[in-house]
């Protein structure tokens, strides 16, 4: 009898175990429904070639796809391409395309579409491409499935540029790309791509609506970062424009929106405990920065800049700006921790809060209390709050601060004029696979701030041409060391972006660039 009982018990246990494990498995993806995403402003365009705007990118890349993209480790993987080969000492790139990829109108994508799109994109792109645009000899089709790019000089950054999400090198139809030239396309009927969703409606100021493209040619395999297999579970995708952050938060709490982006990091503490929302920390995201006017005025003197740095307590600046410690990192590396370029070399002068040194340097530089004009804007917390907090710390060190809080458009226009400021606020936003030399905010001599030293120019010049990754990393570390000695600008730390969603939304990634394929709504 007891033997039977044992068997019965075991069977029961086995049954329960199976049932329990079935419950423990994540719910299977459901097709259907409309996903409503609240975004913070109007995208200036849906023509993804025409602008670097983040909002254009995250809306339009559901419609347009690039040849290459980034996987979950921010390594480059093919998307519309099958693969590529580099020949002729880095001067010839042969890219093979996938077959059977269809546009939303049913046409199959060919190399001619790719060539026309790339030619248009190359003319319009403002990030990365200017470094090699003049080197491009030709972009040609070789048969229906191959595209060749020939350069006059080798470039290490062509594929990275083709993969970058900002101002995506999306593939358009040849007729559209050729006809449009560099004119911005505003007709939805022309904004036809190969992506899992297609545009259906655009009401500026209100909403952008997309619906699933049933003929989408998905890559085999599983989702991987920004690439891999993309499935459009939702029937419709609706981006609503909600400029006010409190309204975005309230909307998710009441279920009016399924997802809201760009939430004030400070709200994290409160939202984390709210059962009606799920918080998502998107890392990495950005770095708040202050850049010095090195062409004219007080900060042409390196000692002044070093004094400024010495006076700062970065932990306080970051904590006061972003609130919860989970939303930021106090880290002086110019490249993010998640990037292969991360390094802790040369970070000595960062976050020292040494008032004695600061005062000594000010005295050595002969500072007599002239006002330090810092132009910033209240439009962005990451611009305004660090400026305010740092100003108090700097006054304690003996600086005479003149904080000017203007609207963003005015800041952009003033910072090009070296007579109008000593410091301005800006930020450096993470972009995957970013190659340090192509980041103007830190490096370029012509970008406002005007960092021009021989040593920096020499190092960067070598960095652009150097093919060996290990050697490049070492060169970069030298640049970083130089940065914290010469202090062309101040990086305050790293911060993350906060987004919120209704608990029923599944499949969301916490990557810095948002996307809504592979996302579904649980019943």
């Amino acid at each position: 009898m007891s033997g039977m009982r044992v068997v019965l018990a075991l069977t029961l246990a086995g049954l329960l175990g199976t049932v329990a494990s079935g419950w423990a498995q994540p719910p299977a993806p459901q097709r259907g429904g409309t996903l409503t995403v609240a975004i913070s402003a109007d995208p200036p365009a849906l023509d993804i070639h025409s602008t670097t705007a983040y909002l254009t990118e995250i809306v339009a890349w559901h419609v347009f796809e690039p040849l290459f993209t980034y996987d979950k480790n921010f390594q480059i993987i093919p998307m519309l391409a099958e693969g590529y080969k580099v020949g002729d000492g880095g001067k010839e790139y042969t890219i093979t395309l996938r077959s059977g990829v269809r546009f939303h109108n049913g046409r199959e994508m060919t190399s001619r579409d790719v060539v026309a799109s790339l030619q248009r994109w190359v003319k319009m792109a403002v990030v990365a491409v200017p470094f090699f645009r003049d080197d491009i000899e030709a972009i040609e089709a070789r048969g229906a499935r191959t595209v060749v790019v020939r350069l006059k000089q080798p470039s290490g950054i062509l594929i990275a540029a083709l993969a970058q999400p900002i101002q995506l090198a999306g593939i358009y139809q040849q007729t559209v790309a050729d006809a449009a030239g560099t004119r911005r396309i505003t007709e939805l009927s022309e904004l036809i791509g190969t992506g899992p969703f297609k545009f259906t409606r655009w009401v500026p100021g209100q909403a952008i609506e997309l619906e699933r493209f049933d003929g989408y040619s998905a890559r085999a395999g599983s989702p991987d970062g920004y690439g891999g297999q993309k499935v459009a579970y939702a029937d419709k995708l609706r981006f609503v424009i909600v400029p006010d952050v409190q309204t975005r938060i309230n909307g998710v709490m009441t279920g009016q929106y399924d997802y809201a982006e760009s939430i004030t990091p400070d709200a994290y503490g409160d939202l984390r405990n709210n059962p009606k929302v799920r918080t998502l920390i998107l890392k990495p995201y950005g770095q708040p920065m202050a850049v010095f006017n090195k062409r004219r005025g007080l900060f042409t003197d390196r000692r002044m800049r070093q004094a400024f740095l010495a006076a700062l307590d970065m932990s306080k600046v970051m904590a006061g700006t972003f609130g919860n410690p989970l939303m930021f990192r106090v880290d002086g590396s110019l490249m993010f921790k998640e990037s292969p370029w991360y390094s802790r070399e040369g970070l000595g002068p960062y976050n020292r809060r040494d008032l004695a040194t600061a005062r000594r340097l000010l005295a050595e530089a002969g500072y007599r209390g002239q006002p330090v004009r810092w132009i910033t804007s209240a439009a962005f917390d990451w611009a305004y709050k660090p400026a305010l907090i740092a100003s108090q710390q700097l006054e304690e060190a003996g600086f005479n601060m003149d904080l000017q809080v203007l609207d963003w458009a005015t800041v952009l226009s003033r910072r090009a004029n070296p007579d109008l400021y000593e410091v301005f606020s800006t930020s450096f936003i993470f972009s995957p696979g970013v190659d340090p030399p192509i980041q103007p905010v830190i490096i370029s001599p012509t970008w406002p701030g005007w960092w021009t030293t021989e040593e920096k120019d020499r190092l960067i010049g070598r960095l652009i041409r150097e093919p060996d990754p290990a050697a490049r990393k070492r060169l970069w570390e030298d640049v970083q060391r130089l940065y914290w000695e010469d202090v062309p600008g101040i990086k305050f730390g790293d911060f993350f972006n906060l987004a919120i969603a209704r608990p029923g939304v599944q499949g969301l990634a916490t990557r810095p660039d948002l996307f809504f394929w592979n996302v579904w709504i649980a019943p």
Partner: protein, 313 residues
């Protein structure tokens, strides 16, 4: 009468042009370059210069003004720098929400304010009068945006009765559309109703003291008849003036309500266009508002003439 109308409409043109020119000067002299904003802060200089040329921003100011003036005369308001769409299209897409919101708000304001003002005047000194006066006081004293924030907290977040924000066009159902407009309309309407109530009360009291009112009462007319047939129509003039002003103010797009409740109306468009330095849109909207204001003023004057037989143009 017809001659008067013609004169007034003719006067409209120089006023509108004047307003447009003032705005033109103001925004062009403001720092901030729309091309830089469009292309992003990292754009190379030649891209910015190219875009400025395309937009016609590199011409001298007088030339730019003249081009604008010529186009306005034929009704062409230009192209939005930000959207790339014609200004008329952009404004048109934002117009309906503002009109709906204003109409609803004015209905609430008049619907509450006028009866409250009449009752308050007729029962002067009573508890009702004092109550109305008190509430009206609070109404004109409260900062509208503060009221809006708290109403949202109460009705949307805590009670969950109404949507937090947003807009649904009447095409997707009248009831749905109303649900989105109730809170913002009420916020605007309540504050204006306080003003209207006070004006109505004051106008009624003015009229009640007049000699002809004493005559009417002496003739033995019932008090209610006296009120409705004699007092109110004469008070109407003052009320109509206020309502006219308020409506034209609302036509400017109530920036506060549209911002907090995310109504994609003309007011919100104007603010964001100022921030983006989208000159053509800014000028287009201001022209529209100025024209609306002048037309409404004219309508108010016509109503005057209809109501008061003494007024003749």
């Amino acid at each position: 009468m017809r001659a008067y109308l013609a004169r007034r409409l003719a006067a409209m043109v120089p006023i509108v042009i004047l307003v447009g020119t003032i705005v033109f000067l103001l925004i062009h002299l403001t720092p901030g370059d729309p091309a830089v904003i469009m292309l992003g802060p990292d754009a190379p200089d030649e891209a910015v210069t190219r875009l400025r040329q395309e937009l016609g921003l590199d011409a001298p100011l007088l030339t730019q003004w003249f081009r604008w003036f010529q186009r306005v005369l034929v009704g062409d308001l230009g192209t939005s720098i930000f959207f790339g769409l014609p200004v008329t299209t952009t404004i048109r897409q934002h117009l309906l929400p503002t009109v709906l919101l204003s109409a609803l708000a004015i209905s609430i304001a008049v619907g509450i304010g006028v009866p409250a003002g009449i009752i308050s005047a007729v029962r002067r000194g009573s508890l009702m009068d004092q109550g109305v006066t008190l509430v009206a006081f609070l109404g004109v004293s409260v900062p509208e945006f503060w009221l809006a924030l708290n109403l949202v907290l109460l009705f949307s977040v805590y009670l969950g009765l109404l949507p937090v924000a947003g807009y649904a066009s009447p095409a997707s159902g009248l009831w749905t559309s109303l649900r989105y407009l109730v809170l913002p309309a009420f916020t605007m309407g309540f504050v204006q109703s306080a003003l209207i109530a006070r004006m109505t009360r004051a106008a009624m009291l003015d009229v009640v003291a007049q000699d002809y009112m004493r005559t009417a009462r002496a003739k033995g007319l019932s008090s209610q008849r006296v009120t409705l047939r004699h007092a109110f129509p004469n008070a109407l003039i003052a009320v109509v003036t206020v309502v006219g002003i308020i409506f034209s103010v609302m036509m400017g797009g109530n920036v506060v309500a549209e911002t907090i409740f995310t109504i994609p109306g003309v007011g919100q468009l104007l603010i964001t266009s100022v921030l983006r330095r989208d000159y053509p849109v800014i000028q287009g909207i201001v022209l529209l508002i100025a024209a609306a204001y002048v037309v409404i003023n004219l309508l108010v004057d016509i109503v005057y003439a209809a109501v008061d037989p003494r007024i003749r143009y």
